[in-house]
Symmetry: C2
């Protein structure tokens, strides 16, 4: 389940995480391999979980969700049992795009997508309202998004001779 990735794998991954619509033939050409070889590697990368998902990235503005909110959450007690409810509500809420447990002053950082501030207010009430383990939360509004992605930097050794 932990296959070592060679330069071919890395080259393939680096293409796919930029654009997974490129054909296996084109990838094969780019990394100097045959198409079936590329296909077998992609299948292994999928099955082993190196490729976690293959998705379309949508424009939130065009879908009526122009707001991105960044929320630092402070809890009284970080103990798993005391935060289970919070974590479950976060997991269940589609508007919460990302959630990190973090070091430092705050305990959690959330990235949230919302249509209106009223919607966010209702959401924050749902997430934090009745939870007496939530000490406080501090919301920042994203004025603009300078960069948005989940791409993992890959050191590009030359792929092949």
């Amino acid at each position: 389940m932990l296959p070592t990735l060679d330069a071919f794998d890395l080259a393939i991954l680096d293409i796919l995480q930029r654009d997974n619509t490129v054909s296996q033939r084109a990838i094969a050409l780019a990394v100097h391999l045959s198409a079936p070889a590329v296909q077998r590697r992609i299948r292994r990368l999928r099955e082993s979980g190196v490729i976690r998902a293959e998705v379309a990235v949508l424009d939130a503005n065009r879908l009526g969700r122009p707001l991105t909110l960044l929320v630092e959450v402070h809890v009284h007690d970080e103990h798993p049992l005391r935060t289970a409810g919070l974590r479950q509500r976060i997991a269940a809420e589609p508007a919460v795009q990302q959630c990190y447990a973090i070091t430092g002053e705050a305990d959690y950082l959330l990235v949230i997508s919302a249509a209106t501030m009223a919607d966010y207010q209702a959401l924050s009430e749902r997430l934090f309202g009745g939870d007496d383990n939530v000490r406080r939360f501090r919301t920042s509004v994203a004025l603009s998004c300078l960069k948005s992605g989940l791409q993992v930097p890959i050191e590009r050794d030359a792929a092949a001779p």
Copy 2:
């Protein structure tokens, strides 16, 4: 360039942002449309920018980048001319996955992927070191990632009869 999205479009988008390897035929079946109709809609959604990208999401841990860092950056002057350099370095740095200009105490929030703390230290030096407009930056380490994605919540009206 701003086509109104109907229930069919939304249903298609909701499938694709979860898994864009689903065939047009399967989508057609799911949303009760013919495959060519689905294809035409997908093409329009791509061209109009509603679909911003189609990508593979990789597991950073398996690629030797187990660290995620969340960095709040405070600048002296938010004026575009004074922050141009910073924004340019952020854009050029693959390790910076996300960057938001935000309201509140800090001015920017960065999500960064790194292999080691030493690498991050070098990176932060590159990003902020020589810039006298950067007043300070505060780094949090992500202890765990409870949720990770860029999916936009879509209200699922019934797709079609």
